[in-house]
């Protein structure tokens, strides 16, 4: 098995710590808030307020389950428009109260369903991209597992983007890539390698700024090994971002996303 395919398997492990477990480990006083105030409460997105070493923060993330019951509750970590709108509501609340936002991303992608389309999945993701690019408070995004396409990007328009050693981020799944571009689902492994979807690849492309390592015995057996690194990074980065003027912060964020693309002229 190729190195990338091994990472794909690890990122999708059902035992892999989920967003609520990361939140519990990193923050104190977490209060979960529900609902998008428009239609429903999407269990695929969790979020609320918490404290990081005395600093009030807003945390939002995509939630997966460890068994079938939990996964039914959170739709296997595939948000609908309600999920993205809940995330945006919490982020706008953070902006009002000048709290930094920390997002956790672990999703195969936005849910492809009839109801999701009826309620504007595309609009919900688009709105998040636009609003996050201009949110007047620091945003830090952490990819903890799968990072499937627009459904992951909708929580990742951040000032700095971090990723776990076995995290992923790609335009679609390697299975989808192989079957759509080559009409050959047996070429998944080749697709996964070509797609450059691992933390190391993404760091080269400047999509990811920092990588956190996972314990040899597996992150599901030693979460603290990784969350300690995340805490250290937050301790360094939060004051730095909070020290910037709003103009400086938004200017930096714009530049970060403005740079992407390869072309000649």
């Amino acid at each position: 098995m190729s190195d990338t395919m091994r990472k794909v398997a690890i990122a999708r492990k059902i035992a892999r710590p989920n967003t609520k477990e990361f939140i519990e480990d990193i923050f104190d006083d977490f209060l979960e808030f529900h609902g998008d105030r428009l239609y429903a409460d999407d269990g695929a997105v969790t979020g609320g307020i918490a404290s990081f070493e005395g600093i009030p923060v807003t945390v939002v993330g995509i939630q997966k389950g460890h068994d079938l019951d939990e996964n039914v509750q959170c739709n296997f970590g595939q948000p609908g428009p309600e999920g993205y709108r809940k995330a945006l509501r919490l982020m706008k609340q953070a902006e009002k109260f000048k709290r930094p936002v920390i997002t956790f991303i672990n999703t195969a992608g936005a849910y492809p369903g009839i109801g999701a389309e009826e309620r504007g999945q595309g609009e919900a993701i688009a709105r998040n991209l636009k609003e996050m690019s201009n949110l007047k408070t620091p945003i830090i995004s952490i990819f903890t597992g799968e990072g499937g396409s627009g459904g992951a990007l909708a929580l990742a328009v951040a000032d700095t983007v971090w990723m776990l050693e076995n995290g992923l981020f790609s335009v679609l799944s390697p299975e989808g890539f192989a079957s759509i571009l080559w009409r050959d689902s047996s070429r998944v492994e080749e697709a996964a390698t070509l797609m450059k979807m691992t933390a190391k690849d993404l760091m080269k492309d400047k999509v990811v700024d920092k990588i956190f390592y996972e314990a040899k015995e597996g992150i599901e057996n030693n979460l603290q090994y990784t969350t300690d690194q995340i805490k250290t990074a937050l301790r360094e980065t939060l004051p730095e971002l909070r020290g910037l003027s709003t103009e400086g912060l938004l200017g930096r964020r714009y530049k970060r996303f403005r740079q992407y693309g390869e072309f000649t002229e």
Partner: protein
């Protein structure tokens, strides 16, 4: 404008196998072939080509055929007012996808333009605007680095000169062959639109068939005013993906323009012959 030199249609009167294959491939695509007779893929009638006007409508069922940017400019802008921006931008191969150069070359030959979007400034009924017009004949209008960069620059140009921007969308979504870079274009364009918005400027989108995936989930859905052409397919997830997930039949008219209007995601459905007039009215009511 010599980049529009090549016709984007294929011929019905050819006899080589290649042409047959092309035809077979394109059977489901409602664009107009360049023979004497053409077939409407909606009502299946055989139409005498001369009956099709510059609006590219089926004379029998009024289906809106897919258009090239050149054709769109001709029915939208004041004559001779269009000036192209960034016409020399060309794609590279960020993911080192094998055979991408050849794919691009073929797409350029087929569509007669160097990438899937044409941008520029123009006048509509005397009102100055910035335009971005996508082309589904070029790799199904997929968004890679060039599409993202050209649209972003068009938006930034509009912000700088305090102009409204109108984007005609048609796209299958992100350009998979460019990997993560294609995905990041969604954020790049949306960020540019946020600045245009914050400057208090007008953004109108005209959704045409088909508008899906990453384009729907970024700039297509961000217009202050969203117009759509009748019966255009507009959605986020592909219909086959949805069917493969839920294992049930999709309802009649699912993800069509009328569906989007009914669910609150489009302001108006506008017949192609009325788009120029409606845009002119919108521009008039936003000029001061």
């Amino acid at each position: 404008m010599n980049l529009f030199g090549k016709k984007s249609y294929f011929s019905l009167d050819g006899n080589e196998d290649k042409k047959k294959n092309d035809r077979r491939k394109k059977r489901n695509e409602p664009s107009i072939p360049d023979g004497m007779w053409i077939k409407c893929n909606t009502c299946k009638s055989i139409i005498y080509k001369k009956e099709v006007t510059e609006y590219k409508l089926c004379p029998d069922c009024d289906a809106h055929f897919r258009m090239s940017p050149e054709e769109r400019i001709a029915i939208t802008c004041d004559e001779g007012s269009f000036t192209e921006l960034d016409s020399n931008m060309r794609p590279m191969n960020p993911m080192r996808y094998p055979g991408y150069d050849e794919v691009i070359e073929n797409a350029q030959k087929k569509a007669g333009i160097p990438e899937a979007v044409v941008t520029g400034h123009a006048k509509i009924d005397g009102y100055e605007v910035v335009l971005a017009i996508m082309d589904s004949h070029f790799m199904m209008g997929s968004m890679g680095s060039v599409v993202g960069e050209k649209v972003t620059r068009a938006v930034e140009y509009a912000t700088q000169y305090r102009l409204p921007i109108i984007i005609f969308t048609t796209s299958g979504g992100a350009r998979m062959q460019e990997g993560i870079m294609s995905l990041m274009q969604m954020a790049k364009v949306s960020a540019a639109l946020a600045r245009h918005d914050e400057a208090g400027l007008l953004y109108v989108t005209v959704l045409t068939d088909p508008t899906t995936g990453g384009v729907t989930a970024s700039f297509a859905m961000l217009g202050d005013i969203i117009l759509a052409e009748p019966k255009a397919l507009i959605g986020f997830a592909g219909q086959r993906v949805i069917q493969g997930t839920i294992h049930q039949k999709l309802p009649e008219g699912f993800q069509r323009a009328e569906f989007q209007l009914e669910h609150g995601f489009a302001d108006r459905i506008v017949h192609r012959t009325k788009i120029r007039e409606e845009l002119a009215t919108i521009l008039k009511l936003h000029s001061s």
